[in-house]
Protein backbone atom coordinates (compact mmCIF):
# COMPACT_ATOMS: atom_id res chain seq x y z
CA UNK A 1 0.00 0.00 0.00
CA UNK A 2 1.33 3.36 -0.85
CA UNK A 3 -1.00 5.88 0.50
CA UNK A 4 0.55 8.72 2.45
CA UNK A 5 -1.19 10.32 5.34
CA UNK A 6 -0.47 13.32 7.50
CA UNK A 7 -2.19 13.15 10.82
CA UNK A 8 -2.08 16.52 12.58
CA UNK A 9 1.51 16.96 11.50
CA UNK A 10 3.37 20.05 12.58
CA UNK A 11 6.91 21.09 11.72
CA UNK A 12 8.70 23.86 13.51
CA UNK A 13 12.12 25.33 12.85
CA UNK A 14 12.95 27.11 16.03
CA UNK A 15 10.23 29.69 16.47
CA UNK A 16 8.79 29.50 13.00
CA UNK A 17 6.13 27.01 12.13
CA UNK A 18 6.58 25.72 8.62
CA UNK A 19 3.75 23.22 8.61
CA UNK A 20 0.89 23.77 10.97
CA UNK A 21 -1.33 20.86 12.01
CA UNK A 22 -1.55 19.33 8.59
CA UNK A 23 -4.00 16.52 8.10
CA UNK A 24 -4.04 15.13 4.60
CA UNK A 25 -4.65 11.77 3.03
CA UNK A 26 -2.95 10.97 -0.23
CA UNK A 27 -4.58 7.91 -1.68
CA UNK A 28 -2.77 5.08 -3.34
CA UNK A 29 -1.90 5.81 -6.99
CA UNK A 30 -3.10 9.31 -6.69
CA UNK A 31 -1.39 12.28 -8.38
CA UNK A 32 -1.50 14.76 -5.55
CA UNK A 33 -0.25 18.27 -6.12
CA UNK A 34 0.70 20.43 -3.15
CA UNK A 35 0.12 23.93 -4.41
CA UNK A 36 0.99 27.16 -2.77
CA UNK A 37 3.16 30.25 -2.96
CA UNK A 38 6.84 29.87 -2.11
CA UNK A 39 7.51 29.58 1.58
CA UNK A 40 4.06 28.21 2.34
CA UNK A 41 5.35 24.93 3.76
CA UNK A 42 4.53 22.65 0.87
CA UNK A 43 8.16 21.73 0.28
CA UNK A 44 8.65 21.10 3.98
CA UNK A 45 5.68 18.77 3.91
CA UNK A 46 7.20 16.93 0.98
CA UNK A 47 10.59 16.70 2.67
CA UNK A 48 8.93 15.25 5.73
CA UNK A 49 7.55 12.46 3.60
CA UNK A 50 10.99 11.96 2.14
CA UNK A 51 12.52 11.78 5.58
CA UNK A 52 14.74 14.78 4.94
CA UNK A 53 13.00 16.70 7.72
CA UNK A 54 11.86 15.31 11.01
CA UNK A 55 8.27 15.57 12.18
CA UNK A 56 7.86 17.85 15.16
CA UNK A 57 4.39 16.77 16.11
CA UNK A 58 1.75 14.42 14.77
CA UNK A 59 2.05 11.29 12.82
CA UNK A 60 3.16 10.59 9.28
CA UNK A 61 2.30 7.29 7.64
CA UNK A 62 3.27 5.73 4.38
CA UNK A 63 0.85 2.93 3.75
CA UNK A 64 0.09 1.59 7.18
CA UNK A 65 3.55 2.23 8.48
CA UNK A 66 4.31 5.09 10.80
CA UNK A 67 7.49 6.60 9.38
CA UNK A 68 8.27 9.43 11.79
CA UNK A 69 11.45 7.65 12.82
CA UNK A 70 12.25 5.76 9.65
CA UNK A 71 15.44 6.67 7.82
CA UNK A 72 14.98 8.33 4.44
CA UNK A 73 16.55 5.47 2.59
CA UNK A 74 14.22 2.94 4.17
CA UNK A 75 10.97 4.64 3.16
CA UNK A 76 10.65 3.24 -0.33
CA UNK A 77 10.21 6.63 -1.91
CA UNK A 78 11.95 8.53 -4.67
CA UNK A 79 12.29 12.21 -5.09
CA UNK A 80 12.93 14.50 -8.01
CA UNK A 81 14.45 17.82 -7.06
CA UNK A 82 13.93 21.19 -8.57
CA UNK A 83 17.64 21.35 -9.39
CA UNK A 84 17.54 17.69 -10.43
CA UNK A 85 20.43 17.07 -8.00
CA UNK A 86 22.33 14.95 -10.47
CA UNK A 87 25.83 13.88 -9.47
CA UNK A 88 27.98 15.99 -11.78
CA UNK A 89 30.92 13.57 -11.67
CA UNK A 90 28.92 10.50 -12.66
CA UNK A 91 27.71 9.48 -16.09
CA UNK A 92 24.00 9.32 -16.77
CA UNK A 93 24.19 5.58 -16.33
CA UNK A 94 25.87 5.89 -12.93
CA UNK A 95 23.44 8.56 -11.88
CA UNK A 96 20.47 6.38 -12.68
CA UNK A 97 22.10 3.38 -11.07
CA UNK A 98 23.05 5.31 -7.96
CA UNK A 99 20.04 4.39 -5.76
CA UNK A 100 20.68 0.74 -6.53
CA UNK A 101 24.32 0.78 -5.43
CA UNK A 102 24.28 3.28 -2.60
CA UNK A 103 23.07 0.88 0.03
CA UNK A 104 25.50 -1.92 0.30
CA UNK A 105 23.30 -4.44 2.04
CA UNK A 106 20.41 -4.02 -0.40
CA UNK A 107 22.37 -3.90 -3.59
CA UNK A 108 20.93 -5.95 -6.49
CA UNK A 109 23.27 -8.00 -8.65
CA UNK A 110 25.10 -6.21 -11.44
CA UNK A 111 23.04 -7.81 -14.19
CA UNK A 112 19.80 -6.81 -12.60
CA UNK A 113 21.04 -3.31 -12.01
CA UNK A 114 21.99 -3.00 -15.66
CA UNK A 115 18.60 -4.24 -16.75
CA UNK A 116 16.78 -1.81 -14.53
CA UNK A 117 18.90 1.12 -15.62
CA UNK A 118 18.25 0.16 -19.23
CA UNK A 119 14.53 -0.07 -18.56
CA UNK A 120 14.37 3.28 -16.82
CA UNK A 121 16.44 4.85 -19.58
CA UNK A 122 14.12 3.42 -22.20
CA UNK A 123 11.06 4.76 -20.47
CA UNK A 124 12.55 8.24 -20.60
CA UNK A 125 14.30 7.94 -23.98
CA UNK A 126 17.71 8.32 -22.41
CA UNK A 127 19.42 5.34 -24.00
CA UNK A 128 21.66 7.43 -26.31
CA UNK A 129 22.96 9.52 -23.44
CA UNK A 130 23.90 6.90 -20.90
CA UNK A 131 27.62 7.53 -21.10
CA UNK A 132 27.48 11.29 -20.95
CA UNK A 133 27.91 13.40 -17.88
CA UNK A 134 25.04 15.64 -16.74
CA UNK A 135 27.03 18.71 -17.74
CA UNK A 136 26.78 17.66 -21.37
CA UNK A 137 22.97 17.41 -21.34
CA UNK A 138 20.24 19.96 -21.95
CA UNK A 139 17.92 20.99 -19.16
CA UNK A 140 15.14 18.72 -20.36
CA UNK A 141 17.45 15.76 -20.64
CA UNK A 142 18.77 16.35 -17.16
CA UNK A 143 15.24 16.49 -15.90
CA UNK A 144 14.56 13.12 -17.48
CA UNK A 145 17.70 11.67 -15.94
CA UNK A 146 16.41 12.78 -12.57
CA UNK A 147 13.13 11.05 -13.32
CA UNK A 148 14.91 7.93 -14.46
CA UNK A 149 16.91 7.87 -11.26
CA UNK A 150 13.65 8.16 -9.38
CA UNK A 151 11.88 5.33 -11.15
CA UNK A 152 14.80 2.95 -11.20
CA UNK A 153 14.25 1.86 -7.67
CA UNK A 154 10.55 1.25 -8.30
CA UNK A 155 9.26 3.00 -5.27
CA UNK A 156 5.65 3.16 -4.16
CA UNK A 157 5.72 6.92 -3.79
CA UNK A 158 7.29 9.55 -6.00
CA UNK A 159 7.98 12.94 -4.59
CA UNK A 160 8.57 15.85 -6.93
CA UNK A 161 9.70 19.25 -5.84
CA UNK A 162 8.95 21.74 -8.61
CA UNK A 163 10.63 19.54 -11.16
CA UNK A 164 9.59 21.69 -14.13
CA UNK A 165 10.54 25.12 -12.92
CA UNK A 166 13.97 25.07 -14.55
CA UNK A 167 12.57 24.28 -18.00
CA UNK A 168 11.54 26.76 -20.63
CA UNK A 169 7.82 27.29 -21.20
CA UNK A 170 7.48 25.05 -24.22
CA UNK A 171 9.34 22.15 -22.70
CA UNK A 172 7.37 22.55 -19.53
CA UNK A 173 4.10 22.04 -21.35
CA UNK A 174 5.43 18.97 -23.07
CA UNK A 175 6.91 17.48 -19.93
CA UNK A 176 3.65 17.95 -18.04
CA UNK A 177 2.06 15.57 -20.41
CA UNK A 178 4.91 13.10 -20.15
CA UNK A 179 4.75 13.17 -16.39
CA UNK A 180 1.09 12.30 -16.37
CA UNK A 181 1.72 9.49 -18.82
CA UNK A 182 4.53 8.24 -16.62
CA UNK A 183 2.25 8.34 -13.62
CA UNK A 184 -0.38 6.27 -15.39
CA UNK A 185 2.19 3.79 -16.56
CA UNK A 186 3.90 3.35 -13.21
CA UNK A 187 0.67 3.10 -11.27
CA UNK A 188 2.36 4.71 -8.30
CA UNK A 189 1.53 7.53 -5.97
CA UNK A 190 2.85 10.91 -7.06
CA UNK A 191 3.14 13.79 -4.68
CA UNK A 192 4.06 16.89 -6.56
CA UNK A 193 4.94 20.27 -5.17
CA UNK A 194 4.54 23.40 -7.23
CA UNK A 195 3.62 27.04 -7.01
CA UNK A 196 2.36 26.98 -10.59
CA UNK A 197 -1.39 26.55 -10.63
CA UNK A 198 -1.35 25.59 -14.30
CA UNK A 199 0.76 22.55 -13.48
CA UNK A 200 -1.54 21.74 -10.64
CA UNK A 201 -4.66 22.09 -12.73
CA UNK A 202 -3.32 20.10 -15.67
CA UNK A 203 -1.81 17.16 -13.87
CA UNK A 204 -3.33 16.60 -10.49
CA UNK A 205 -5.94 14.06 -9.51
CA UNK A 206 -6.38 16.26 -6.51
CA UNK A 207 -4.89 19.53 -5.44
CA UNK A 208 -4.00 20.47 -1.88
CA UNK A 209 -3.69 24.22 -1.62
CA UNK A 210 -1.39 25.30 1.17
CA UNK A 211 -0.70 28.74 2.53
CA UNK A 212 1.19 29.83 5.63
CA UNK A 213 1.78 26.25 6.61
CA UNK A 214 -1.90 25.46 6.66
CA UNK A 215 -3.96 23.36 4.35
CA UNK A 216 -6.53 25.60 2.65
CA UNK A 217 -8.43 23.21 0.49
CA UNK A 218 -8.19 19.74 -0.99
CA UNK A 219 -10.05 18.54 -3.99
CA UNK A 220 -10.03 17.75 -7.68
CA UNK A 221 -8.77 20.66 -9.80
CA UNK A 222 -12.09 21.62 -11.26
CA UNK A 223 -13.82 21.55 -7.89
CA UNK A 224 -11.18 23.76 -6.39
CA UNK A 225 -11.47 26.12 -9.31
CA UNK A 226 -15.21 26.21 -9.24
CA UNK A 227 -15.71 26.47 -5.57
CA UNK A 228 -12.62 27.95 -3.89
CA UNK A 229 -12.95 27.45 -0.18
CA UNK A 230 -11.67 30.85 0.82
CA UNK A 231 -10.35 34.10 -0.44
CA UNK A 232 -6.79 32.81 -0.65
CA UNK A 233 -7.67 29.87 -2.86
CA UNK A 234 -9.94 32.05 -4.92
CA UNK A 235 -7.19 34.52 -5.55
CA UNK A 236 -4.46 31.96 -6.04
CA UNK A 237 -6.15 29.68 -8.51
CA UNK A 238 -7.11 31.01 -11.89
CA UNK A 239 -5.19 33.07 -14.37
CA UNK A 240 -5.85 35.90 -14.70
CA UNK A 241 -6.96 35.80 -11.09
CA UNK A 242 -10.45 36.21 -9.84
CA UNK A 243 -11.68 39.82 -9.66
CA UNK A 244 -12.61 40.87 -6.14
CA UNK A 245 -14.49 43.72 -4.63
CA UNK A 246 -15.88 44.50 -1.22
CA UNK A 247 -19.61 45.02 -1.01
CA UNK A 248 -22.73 44.82 1.06
CA UNK A 249 -25.64 42.50 0.64
CA UNK A 250 -28.70 44.58 0.13
CA UNK A 251 -31.54 42.65 1.71
CA UNK A 252 -34.12 45.44 1.79
CA UNK A 253 -37.13 44.21 -0.08
CA UNK A 254 -37.74 47.73 -1.28
CA UNK A 255 -34.62 47.76 -3.29
CA UNK A 256 -35.89 45.13 -5.59
CA UNK A 257 -34.05 41.85 -6.23
CA UNK A 258 -31.39 40.64 -3.90
CA UNK A 259 -28.04 42.16 -4.81
CA UNK A 260 -24.56 43.08 -3.64
CA UNK A 261 -23.94 46.76 -3.54
CA UNK A 262 -20.37 47.81 -4.43
CA UNK A 263 -18.56 51.01 -5.21
CA UNK A 264 -18.89 50.40 -8.91
CA UNK A 265 -22.44 49.20 -9.06
CA UNK A 266 -24.72 46.41 -8.00
CA UNK A 267 -24.35 42.71 -8.64
CA UNK A 268 -27.58 40.75 -8.67
CA UNK A 269 -27.81 37.66 -6.51
CA UNK A 270 -29.94 34.84 -7.85
CA UNK A 271 -30.18 33.09 -4.49
CA UNK A 272 -29.88 34.51 -1.02
CA UNK A 273 -26.59 33.83 0.74
CA UNK A 274 -26.53 31.15 3.41
CA UNK A 275 -25.44 33.54 6.12
CA UNK A 276 -26.91 36.76 7.18
CA UNK A 277 -23.71 38.70 6.95
CA UNK A 278 -23.96 42.24 5.80
CA UNK A 279 -20.46 42.91 4.52
CA UNK A 280 -18.99 40.46 1.98
CA UNK A 281 -16.24 40.18 -0.56
CA UNK A 282 -17.58 39.44 -3.97
CA UNK A 283 -15.45 37.53 -6.43
CA UNK A 284 -15.98 36.97 -10.08
CA UNK A 285 -13.74 35.30 -12.62
CA UNK A 286 -12.73 37.28 -15.72
CA UNK A 287 -14.59 34.94 -18.05
CA UNK A 288 -17.84 35.62 -16.24
CA UNK A 289 -17.82 39.32 -17.00
CA UNK A 290 -19.36 40.70 -20.11
CA UNK A 291 -18.37 44.01 -21.68
CA UNK A 292 -21.35 46.13 -22.54
CA UNK A 293 -23.49 45.05 -19.60
CA UNK A 294 -25.02 47.53 -17.24
CA UNK A 295 -24.45 46.07 -13.77
CA UNK A 296 -21.12 47.72 -13.15
CA UNK A 297 -19.25 50.66 -14.53
CA UNK A 298 -15.47 50.67 -14.92
CA UNK A 299 -12.74 52.58 -16.78
CA UNK A 300 -10.58 50.78 -19.33
CA UNK A 301 -6.90 51.08 -18.44
CA UNK A 302 -5.33 48.82 -20.99
CA UNK A 303 -6.15 46.17 -23.50
CA UNK A 304 -3.89 43.08 -23.79
CA UNK A 305 -4.13 41.19 -27.04
CA UNK A 306 -3.42 37.50 -26.71
CA UNK A 307 -4.45 36.48 -30.19
CA UNK A 308 -7.24 34.08 -29.43
CA UNK A 309 -8.68 36.36 -26.82
CA UNK A 310 -8.17 39.66 -25.20
CA UNK A 311 -7.76 40.85 -21.60
CA UNK A 312 -9.29 44.17 -20.81
CA UNK A 313 -7.76 45.73 -17.72
CA UNK A 314 -10.11 48.03 -15.91
CA UNK A 315 -10.13 50.20 -12.87
CA UNK A 316 -12.83 48.91 -10.56
CA UNK A 317 -12.85 51.22 -7.57
CA UNK A 318 -9.46 50.67 -5.89
CA UNK A 319 -8.89 47.36 -7.65
CA UNK A 320 -7.85 46.36 -11.09
CA UNK A 321 -10.09 43.93 -12.79
CA UNK A 322 -9.53 41.82 -15.84
CA UNK A 323 -12.27 41.05 -18.28
CA UNK A 324 -11.86 38.26 -20.79
CA UNK A 325 -13.13 39.06 -24.22
CA UNK A 326 -13.25 36.96 -27.34
CA UNK A 327 -10.96 38.11 -30.10
CA UNK A 328 -13.74 38.72 -32.57
CA UNK A 329 -15.64 41.13 -30.35
CA UNK A 330 -14.95 44.85 -30.75
CA UNK A 331 -12.23 46.05 -28.39
CA UNK A 332 -12.93 49.00 -26.10
CA UNK A 333 -10.73 52.08 -26.26
CA UNK A 334 -8.29 52.87 -23.48
CA UNK A 335 -9.75 55.48 -21.16
CA UNK A 336 -13.28 54.61 -22.16
CA UNK A 337 -15.89 54.02 -19.47
CA UNK A 338 -17.62 50.77 -20.04
CA UNK A 339 -20.40 48.85 -18.42
CA UNK A 340 -19.99 45.24 -17.32
CA UNK A 341 -22.59 42.56 -17.17
CA UNK A 342 -22.38 39.91 -14.44
CA UNK A 343 -23.87 36.48 -14.38
CA UNK A 344 -25.06 36.24 -10.81
CA UNK A 345 -24.81 32.44 -10.85
CA UNK A 346 -21.06 32.60 -11.18
CA UNK A 347 -20.59 35.01 -8.31
CA UNK A 348 -18.44 33.91 -5.33
CA UNK A 349 -19.04 35.45 -1.93
CA UNK A 350 -16.60 35.39 0.96
CA UNK A 351 -16.70 36.41 4.57
CA UNK A 352 -14.28 39.34 4.81
CA UNK A 353 -13.30 38.47 8.41
CA UNK A 354 -12.89 34.75 8.26
CA UNK A 355 -12.18 34.81 4.48
CA UNK A 356 -14.25 31.64 4.18
CA UNK A 357 -16.61 31.04 1.31
CA UNK A 358 -20.22 31.84 2.05
CA UNK A 359 -21.77 31.26 -1.36
Amino acid sequence: MSSVSFDHVTKRFGDTTAVDDLTLEVADREFMVLLGPSGCGKTTALRMIAGLESVTEGELRIGERRVNDVDARDRDISMVFQSYALYPHMTVRKNIESPLVATRHARPAAAERAARVREAADVLDLAPYLDRKPGELSGGQRQRVALARAIVRRPQVFLMDEPLSNLDAKLRTQTRLELVELWRRLEATFIYVTHDQVEAMTMASRIAVIADGRLQQVGPPQAVYDRPANLFVAGFIGSPPMNMIAGEVDRSPLAGPLRVRTAIGNIPLPTPPTTNLHSVVAGIRPEHLRLGGSDLSVEVLNVEQLGHERHVICRAGDARWVVRQAAHEPAPAVGERVGLGVDGASLHLFDPTSTERIA
Partner: protein, 288 residues
Protein backbone atom coordinates in the same frame (compact mmCIF):
# COMPACT_ATOMS: atom_id res chain seq x y z
CA UNK B 1 16.70 10.81 13.01
CA UNK B 2 16.28 10.04 16.61
CA UNK B 3 18.82 9.64 19.38
CA UNK B 4 20.61 6.65 18.01
CA UNK B 5 21.28 8.40 14.77
CA UNK B 6 22.59 11.43 16.63
CA UNK B 7 25.00 9.38 18.69
CA UNK B 8 26.17 7.66 15.55
CA UNK B 9 26.78 11.04 13.95
CA UNK B 10 28.75 12.29 16.95
CA UNK B 11 30.90 9.23 16.92
CA UNK B 12 31.53 9.54 13.22
CA UNK B 13 32.34 13.24 13.52
CA UNK B 14 34.91 12.67 16.23
CA UNK B 15 36.38 9.69 14.44
CA UNK B 16 36.90 11.84 11.37
CA UNK B 17 38.32 14.67 13.44
CA UNK B 18 40.53 12.56 15.64
CA UNK B 19 43.63 12.42 13.43
CA UNK B 20 43.65 16.17 12.99
CA UNK B 21 42.92 16.83 16.63
CA UNK B 22 45.73 14.53 17.73
CA UNK B 23 48.20 16.28 15.46
CA UNK B 24 47.04 19.68 16.67
CA UNK B 25 47.19 18.63 20.29
CA UNK B 26 50.66 17.17 20.02
CA UNK B 27 52.29 19.61 17.63
CA UNK B 28 50.50 22.88 18.30
CA UNK B 29 49.07 22.94 21.80
CA UNK B 30 51.52 20.73 23.64
CA UNK B 31 54.46 22.80 22.37
CA UNK B 32 52.67 25.98 23.32
CA UNK B 33 52.39 24.63 26.83
CA UNK B 34 55.99 23.50 26.76
CA UNK B 35 57.17 26.90 25.56
CA UNK B 36 55.52 28.46 28.57
CA UNK B 37 57.14 25.86 30.78
CA UNK B 38 60.60 26.27 29.29
CA UNK B 39 60.34 30.02 29.55
CA UNK B 40 59.64 29.76 33.26
CA UNK B 41 62.31 27.19 34.09
CA UNK B 42 66.05 27.45 33.56
CA UNK B 43 67.54 24.11 32.49
CA UNK B 44 70.81 22.99 33.98
CA UNK B 45 73.92 22.70 31.85
CA UNK B 46 74.86 19.58 33.74
CA UNK B 47 73.83 16.10 32.71
CA UNK B 48 70.78 15.24 34.80
CA UNK B 49 70.89 18.64 36.49
CA UNK B 50 67.16 19.20 36.03
CA UNK B 51 65.57 22.61 35.99
CA UNK B 52 65.02 25.58 38.25
CA UNK B 53 62.05 27.93 38.40
CA UNK B 54 62.94 31.41 37.29
CA UNK B 55 59.48 32.88 36.83
CA UNK B 56 57.84 35.51 34.72
CA UNK B 57 60.50 38.04 35.59
CA UNK B 58 62.98 36.03 33.56
CA UNK B 59 60.57 35.95 30.63
CA UNK B 60 60.16 39.69 30.86
CA UNK B 61 63.92 40.13 31.01
CA UNK B 62 64.23 38.31 27.72
CA UNK B 63 61.36 40.11 26.03
CA UNK B 64 62.61 43.50 27.11
CA UNK B 65 66.20 42.57 26.46
CA UNK B 66 68.33 43.93 23.68
CA UNK B 67 68.57 40.65 21.81
CA UNK B 68 64.85 40.20 21.45
CA UNK B 69 64.17 43.82 20.60
CA UNK B 70 66.97 43.87 18.08
CA UNK B 71 65.71 40.66 16.48
CA UNK B 72 62.23 42.09 16.35
CA UNK B 73 63.48 45.27 14.78
CA UNK B 74 65.42 43.33 12.16
CA UNK B 75 62.35 41.25 11.44
CA UNK B 76 60.28 44.39 11.03
CA UNK B 77 62.91 45.86 8.75
CA UNK B 78 62.75 42.70 6.71
CA UNK B 79 59.00 43.19 6.44
CA UNK B 80 59.46 46.80 5.41
CA UNK B 81 61.81 45.67 2.66
CA UNK B 82 59.70 42.81 1.42
CA UNK B 83 56.01 43.59 1.84
CA UNK B 84 55.46 46.91 0.05
CA UNK B 85 57.95 46.05 -2.67
CA UNK B 86 56.36 42.64 -3.11
CA UNK B 87 52.90 44.13 -3.51
CA UNK B 88 54.05 46.93 -5.79
CA UNK B 89 55.95 44.60 -8.10
CA UNK B 90 53.10 42.11 -8.10
CA UNK B 91 50.72 44.88 -9.14
CA UNK B 92 53.14 46.11 -11.78
CA UNK B 93 53.55 42.68 -13.34
CA UNK B 94 49.86 41.90 -13.11
CA UNK B 95 48.83 45.22 -14.65
CA UNK B 96 51.27 44.63 -17.47
CA UNK B 97 50.11 41.09 -18.12
CA UNK B 98 46.37 41.65 -17.69
CA UNK B 99 45.42 42.41 -21.24
CA UNK B 100 44.24 40.77 -24.40
CA UNK B 101 47.30 40.05 -26.45
CA UNK B 102 48.33 37.07 -28.43
CA UNK B 103 50.71 34.95 -26.40
CA UNK B 104 49.95 36.73 -23.16
CA UNK B 105 49.73 33.32 -21.46
CA UNK B 106 53.44 32.87 -22.05
CA UNK B 107 54.24 36.07 -20.22
CA UNK B 108 51.82 35.16 -17.46
CA UNK B 109 53.56 31.83 -17.05
CA UNK B 110 56.95 33.51 -16.90
CA UNK B 111 55.78 35.98 -14.29
CA UNK B 112 54.29 33.26 -12.15
CA UNK B 113 57.28 30.97 -12.59
CA UNK B 114 59.07 31.95 -9.40
CA UNK B 115 56.32 30.11 -7.55
CA UNK B 116 58.41 27.08 -8.41
CA UNK B 117 61.36 28.27 -6.38
CA UNK B 118 61.60 27.53 -2.71
CA UNK B 119 63.22 29.92 -0.28
CA UNK B 120 66.31 27.74 -0.35
CA UNK B 121 66.44 27.65 -4.13
CA UNK B 122 65.93 31.38 -4.47
CA UNK B 123 68.63 31.98 -1.89
CA UNK B 124 71.11 29.90 -3.86
CA UNK B 125 69.98 31.65 -7.03
CA UNK B 126 70.64 35.02 -5.45
CA UNK B 127 74.13 34.00 -4.41
CA UNK B 128 75.03 34.40 -8.08
CA UNK B 129 74.07 38.04 -7.74
CA UNK B 130 74.95 39.19 -4.27
CA UNK B 131 77.69 36.94 -2.92
CA UNK B 132 80.63 39.14 -1.93
CA UNK B 133 83.08 37.14 -3.97
CA UNK B 134 81.36 35.66 -6.95
CA UNK B 135 78.19 37.74 -7.16
CA UNK B 136 77.58 39.71 -10.30
CA UNK B 137 76.43 42.68 -8.22
CA UNK B 138 79.01 42.34 -5.49
CA UNK B 139 80.13 45.92 -5.95
CA UNK B 140 76.66 47.41 -5.79
CA UNK B 141 76.88 49.12 -2.44
CA UNK B 142 73.20 49.01 -1.51
CA UNK B 143 73.22 45.23 -1.99
CA UNK B 144 76.52 44.57 -0.32
CA UNK B 145 76.58 41.68 2.10
CA UNK B 146 79.66 43.23 3.64
CA UNK B 147 77.86 46.07 5.24
CA UNK B 148 75.44 45.75 8.15
CA UNK B 149 73.43 48.46 6.46
CA UNK B 150 72.70 46.62 3.25
CA UNK B 151 73.02 42.89 3.87
CA UNK B 152 69.45 42.52 5.07
CA UNK B 153 68.30 44.28 1.96
CA UNK B 154 70.11 41.78 -0.23
CA UNK B 155 68.49 38.88 1.62
CA UNK B 156 65.14 40.60 1.38
CA UNK B 157 65.58 41.06 -2.34
CA UNK B 158 65.81 37.33 -2.83
CA UNK B 159 62.54 36.97 -0.95
CA UNK B 160 60.89 39.60 -3.06
CA UNK B 161 61.99 37.78 -6.16
CA UNK B 162 60.90 34.44 -4.80
CA UNK B 163 57.48 35.83 -3.91
CA UNK B 164 56.99 37.58 -7.25
CA UNK B 165 55.19 34.60 -8.69
CA UNK B 166 52.74 34.43 -5.84
CA UNK B 167 52.10 38.16 -5.71
CA UNK B 168 51.64 38.29 -9.46
CA UNK B 169 49.22 35.39 -9.46
CA UNK B 170 47.12 36.83 -6.67
CA UNK B 171 46.91 40.33 -8.09
CA UNK B 172 46.18 39.01 -11.56
CA UNK B 173 43.37 36.84 -10.24
CA UNK B 174 41.95 39.88 -8.48
CA UNK B 175 42.21 42.03 -11.59
CA UNK B 176 40.33 39.41 -13.53
CA UNK B 177 37.38 39.81 -11.22
CA UNK B 178 37.14 43.54 -11.91
CA UNK B 179 34.16 43.92 -14.26
CA UNK B 180 35.09 45.52 -17.52
CA UNK B 181 31.87 47.52 -17.63
CA UNK B 182 32.94 49.30 -14.50
CA UNK B 183 36.17 50.43 -16.10
CA UNK B 184 34.36 51.38 -19.26
CA UNK B 185 31.90 53.38 -17.23
CA UNK B 186 34.80 55.09 -15.46
CA UNK B 187 36.35 55.79 -18.82
CA UNK B 188 33.12 57.32 -20.06
CA UNK B 189 32.95 59.36 -16.90
CA UNK B 190 36.21 60.89 -17.97
CA UNK B 191 38.63 59.25 -15.55
CA UNK B 192 42.17 59.04 -16.88
CA UNK B 193 44.20 55.85 -16.70
CA UNK B 194 45.94 56.78 -13.46
CA UNK B 195 42.76 57.87 -11.75
CA UNK B 196 40.96 54.80 -13.03
CA UNK B 197 43.68 52.71 -11.46
CA UNK B 198 43.61 54.38 -8.08
CA UNK B 199 39.91 55.22 -7.87
CA UNK B 200 38.43 52.09 -9.40
CA UNK B 201 40.92 49.25 -9.67
CA UNK B 202 42.71 49.59 -6.37
CA UNK B 203 39.56 49.74 -4.24
CA UNK B 204 38.17 46.72 -6.06
CA UNK B 205 41.29 44.59 -5.65
CA UNK B 206 42.10 45.90 -2.20
CA UNK B 207 40.88 42.73 -0.47
CA UNK B 208 43.40 40.76 -2.52
CA UNK B 209 46.13 43.28 -1.80
CA UNK B 210 45.32 43.06 1.85
CA UNK B 211 45.40 39.29 1.76
CA UNK B 212 48.72 39.50 0.00
CA UNK B 213 50.09 41.85 2.62
CA UNK B 214 49.14 39.40 5.34
CA UNK B 215 50.69 36.48 3.49
CA UNK B 216 53.91 38.42 2.95
CA UNK B 217 54.01 39.49 6.58
CA UNK B 218 53.62 35.88 7.67
CA UNK B 219 56.36 34.82 5.24
CA UNK B 220 58.53 37.58 6.64
CA UNK B 221 58.12 36.25 10.15
CA UNK B 222 59.09 32.84 8.86
CA UNK B 223 62.17 34.01 6.96
CA UNK B 224 65.03 31.68 7.71
CA UNK B 225 66.69 30.00 4.74
CA UNK B 226 67.44 33.28 2.98
CA UNK B 227 69.25 34.43 6.11
CA UNK B 228 71.15 31.23 6.65
CA UNK B 229 72.16 30.76 3.03
CA UNK B 230 72.82 34.34 1.98
CA UNK B 231 74.07 36.24 5.00
CA UNK B 232 74.51 33.69 7.76
CA UNK B 233 72.97 36.22 10.11
CA UNK B 234 75.83 38.64 9.69
CA UNK B 235 77.53 40.89 9.31
CA UNK B 236 77.35 42.01 12.89
CA UNK B 237 74.08 40.15 13.49
CA UNK B 238 72.49 42.74 11.25
CA UNK B 239 70.41 40.09 9.52
CA UNK B 240 69.52 37.95 12.50
CA UNK B 241 65.78 37.95 12.34
CA UNK B 242 63.82 36.83 15.34
CA UNK B 243 63.30 33.33 14.04
CA UNK B 244 66.94 32.97 13.05
CA UNK B 245 67.93 34.02 16.52
CA UNK B 246 65.48 31.63 18.16
CA UNK B 247 66.80 28.67 16.25
CA UNK B 248 70.21 29.31 17.72
CA UNK B 249 68.78 29.01 21.21
CA UNK B 250 68.07 25.32 21.38
CA UNK B 251 70.75 24.22 23.74
CA UNK B 252 69.54 23.12 27.14
CA UNK B 253 70.84 26.19 28.86
CA UNK B 254 69.43 28.48 26.19
CA UNK B 255 65.94 27.00 26.20
CA UNK B 256 64.63 29.52 28.69
CA UNK B 257 65.65 32.38 26.43
CA UNK B 258 64.65 30.58 23.25
CA UNK B 259 61.22 29.67 24.61
CA UNK B 260 60.62 33.19 25.86
CA UNK B 261 61.53 34.60 22.47
CA UNK B 262 59.29 32.04 20.79
CA UNK B 263 56.43 33.28 22.92
CA UNK B 264 57.34 36.80 21.83
CA UNK B 265 57.22 35.71 18.21
CA UNK B 266 53.87 34.09 18.91
CA UNK B 267 52.66 37.38 20.32
CA UNK B 268 53.74 39.21 17.19
CA UNK B 269 52.02 36.77 14.86
CA UNK B 270 48.98 36.99 17.08
CA UNK B 271 49.00 40.74 16.70
CA UNK B 272 49.11 40.45 12.95
CA UNK B 273 46.23 37.98 13.04
CA UNK B 274 44.26 40.37 15.19
CA UNK B 275 44.78 43.20 12.76
CA UNK B 276 43.81 40.86 9.97
CA UNK B 277 40.62 39.89 11.76
CA UNK B 278 39.60 43.42 12.54
CA UNK B 279 40.18 44.63 9.03
CA UNK B 280 38.43 41.65 7.56
CA UNK B 281 35.48 42.28 9.80
CA UNK B 282 35.29 45.86 8.71
CA UNK B 283 35.56 44.87 5.11
CA UNK B 284 32.71 42.42 5.49
CA UNK B 285 30.47 45.05 7.02
CA UNK B 286 31.25 47.50 4.28
CA UNK B 287 30.77 44.82 1.70
CA UNK B 288 27.24 44.10 2.85
Amino acid sequence: MGKRRNVRQWALAYALLLPSLVVFAVFAYLPLYRLVHFSLYQQSSRLGGGERYVGFGAVWDVLSGERFLQGTWITIKFLIFTVPAGIALGVLLAMAAHRRLKGIKIFQTIFSSTVASSVAVSSVVFLTLVNEQIGLLRNVSWLSLKSPNSALFAAALSSVWQNLGLTFVIVLAALQTVPEELLEAAHLDGYGAVRRFFRVVVPLISPALFFLAIVLVVYGFQAYAQIELITGGGPLRSTETLLYRITKLQKNTDLQVGASMSLGLFGLTFLVALVQFRLLERRVTYGN
